[in-house]
Symmetry: C2
Subunit: 486 residues, 2 copies
């Protein structure tokens, strides 16, 4: 049987599951699904399907498995590592219509949602009960819980509360073979190995979540948000080390350097001291008496760290303004440069100062500006590499610089990604972190779950198992003779 | 080649790795390794090996893999689920000699230890830096970190701090195939799926840890330990619900019923009010001002719950006395009854009252006394079923009662084990919790790591993959003609 015959049969089978308006095969329909937030990559699927029920998702996966055609689940497409990039010629399963809150139990403090449910909507629904969902990626107003699970999303407040994996209690999952399994439960005390943990962070390689049980936390009674301005980046880094050494565990500790401040200020007028070489945001949260006691201690620690200005948010509005600047910093950098690469790496907290000095050196060496915005409390760096794609060679230089920064993270004992994932972008860096035996063990486990490597094929693992990243070629349906273009 | 020839070759190969004094094959030498803390089971290994280095462990595993002979890693043998029971005729790898602290970094707050390192020794070593290792199973003065990892051990304080899995950052592991891999790292922000989480809690089925990187926490500045006595068990249960609803997150919340109080009191003279139908221990911990503020709130909540007596530990000595009674309760029950079964199950916190009433009903129905000691904060029940093994039929009745309690836990939405593991004891209950598709997916992943099911074969998964639990038969070395007894 020829490839085109297989493809035609797959499409015919999918058409039996889904009505026409939720089964997209025309070029114009497919275009929005050809890339995600990591715009450097692009690949064209053979079809996009938009299921409305779990049963449809299961049927679609089984159909793909039967025809041995790879598929990629997609939420809002906010992946910064190309994680929701289609497999060239594969099927994209868009999950935005599976967006219901299925259950909210304030006594057990759990919410059960479908994978297309938006992160921030969980907290909205929990708010009347004084509860919220802790993981807060910057994308939280748009990104979905399914995507958050796949990439084990973090956020500014994961310093205190941990990543998505610390807040997912259970999931009903369709494995790449089409089997449906229940992982975890409603309790944090699982049984045996953490099967759920194998799914969370698996970047779509272990199947698709159909229902997710999330842990809700009581909303902090009080916040104390402090902004300290420094005349040197090192001082801000040292202040973070001093806060940690003092025994305080803030909800968040964020640093922005001069370039990031400038960008954020231009974009959202947060009122940041724009002359600062570095800003440190520290937020305490919890019961009021505890926060008040900690706030005093924090003041003393920060004072000793030599800031030239310290501000404390007096009310919720001032707090939101401080955070608005921080959360806008990524996209705001677009105002300083036509193009930029968002990098994501981790170094041990004690090596922050050295890492920043190294980034500065690499920035000069490659002749490209780098803005730094990062979760300082857990050593998660987010260097933003500024370049102009229209200048020949600048993109390549930017990518080389990004690679050097990642290698430095590994050298200092850190990792190549803190929260954006490996996806398409970083898979070739995996051997920098893992020995071949480690990677082979991982691959073997992956194949135990997905023998044909159908689910989001080509992501995370280095090497040739994947259809390579592509420039636009002929549409696979054209190649297969199923459609022809005017 | 006959089985005996294979066995003789295996033993000859092992003898090349280890000197005679660390390679045990005589019946008298093997006897102490034939069971663990779950004394109802017993199985005889063909040999016990006592490696002193990681390299020896790797060589032993490779030798077993080459000869296709199953093996079981063993620490202090404190498993309450038969998890460290040998595979009949297999090799026991005793890890107590790999007990070194390899590194302690107070800045990064990590400790790197060998698998045979004793849990409590980690905190001892960290104490001079104001740090400690949080997971506190009752066995912590004797149990090893390797065993804690295998069974994802909890403890009274896991309510606030989580189980072992929340405190392990990385592990160097020899897989059952003999490959050596590194899982996790020194950061809580892992990359991709939680491979380490697949190892933690795997009950020895995924290989053997060679080095473990643990997270250390700052020692709480202050404890506030409260003991409340009630005239009814339900009141204590309701008090727990009220504390949770108030937004407080105590370090521990423990309940003991009348029978458990009586036993503990007889054993350690903790000064408990022995007339109480139930005792509730609540412990707050953290920075002093926070604990003081929370203590006031706690007093109000507890007062409203209707205790007839409330005591607060005035100093460290009084605190230790309260905990001594609680931690001794298990073994103290031996004073009330010649034999007892320690059960371990979980129910949703909100269903504690119903579960306790149900246990009471089942206790009467089966004509056996049940003492209840449990981690109330997280719904982890520890009913102790009292029986007399010399009375015909009592053990069987006790086992039936234990089974009914587990089924009730599952029915109420809980699990068949909170922290003791499935091991040998509960594997036949797995189908009560998991659908066949779930179990098959787990088995597939296990086989990806251990294709021959050599590592701790026969544990956790139900059914025929295992040599069954045995009464004593002929020693396998006799069967193989390798040794003969007088």
């Amino acid at each position: 049987m020829t490839a085109s015959a297989t493809l035609a049969e797959l499409l015919a089978d999918l058409a039996r599951i889904l009505p026409k308006e939720r089964f997209l095969t025309e070029a114009a329909q497919l275009a929005p699904y050809e890339s995600d937030a990591l715009t450097a990559f692009r690949a064209r699927p053979c079809a996009v399907v938009l299921p409305q029920t779990s049963e449809e998702v299961v049927e679609i996966v089984r159909t793909c498995a039967r025809h041995k055609v790879p598929f990629t689940a997609r939420g809002s497409g906010t992946s910064l590592s190309g994680g929701s990039l289609p497999v060239e010629g594969g099927v994209v399963i868009g999950l935005n219509r599976l967006n219901r809150l299925l259950r909210l139990d304030p006594n057990e403090r759990i919410a059960v949602v479908q994978p297309g449910h938006i992160n921030l909507r969980v907290s909205d629904a929990a708010a009347p009960y004084g509860l919220y969902y802790a993981p807060d990626p910057s994308s939280q107003p748009v990104s979905t819980i399914g995507g958050n699970l796949a990439f084990n999303s973090g956020g500014a407040h994961c310093l205190k509360y941990g990543m998505t994996s610390n807040h997912v209690l259970g999931a009903k999952v369709v494995l790449p073979t089409g089997e449906v399994v229940e992982l975890g439960g409603e309790s944090l005390e699982g049984l045996g190995p953490d099967w759920l943990g194998l799914f969370v962070g698996s970047e779509g390689l272990m199947g698709i979540a159909l229902e997710v049980t999330l842990r809700l936390l009581p909303k902090p009674e009080k916040y104390h948000t402090l902004l300290a301005a420094y005349d040197a980046l090192e001082k801000a880094g040292d202040a973070v080390a001093a806060v940690v050494a003092s025994g305080l565990l803030p909800g968040a500790m964020e640093i922005m350097d001069n370039l990031a401040i400038e960008a954020a200020e231009a974009a959202v007028h947060a009122g940041y001291p724009t002359a600062a070489r570095a800003l440190l945001i520290v937020e305490l949260e919890g019961e009021a008496p505890q926060v008040e006691a900690e706030a005093e201690q924090l003041s003393r620690v920060i004072e000793r760290s030599g800031p030239y200005e310290v501000r404390v948010a007096r009310d919720a509005e001032e707090r939101m303004k401080i955070w608005k600047g921080r959360k806008a910093a990524f996209s705001a950098v677009g105002r300083l440069s036509p193009d930029y690469i968002v990098q994501d790496g981790v170094v041990p907290r004690s090596k922050l100062g050295r890492a920043l000095a190294e980034i500065e050196r690499l920035s000069q060496e490659h002749g490209l500006r780098v803005a730094n915005v990062f979760h300082a409390g857990d050593g998660n760096l987010h260097p933003l590499i500024l370049y102009d794609g229209k200048v020949p060679g600048e993109l390549e230089r930017g990518e080389r610089l990004a690679g050097e920064i990642l290698r430095m993270c590994v050298r200092l004992g850190g990792t190549i990604t803190g929260e954006h994932g490996v996806g398409m972008e970083k898979k070739e860096y995996m051997p920098e972190m893992f020995a071949e035996a480690d990677l082979e063990a991982m691959r073997r486990i992956r194949r135990a779950v997905d023998p044909l490597e159908l689910s989001n094929r080509g992501k995370m693992f280095p090497g040739g198992e994947a259809p390579a990243v592509t420039a636009h070629g002929a549409h696979p349906l054209e190649q297969a003779g199923v459609i022809s273009r005017e």
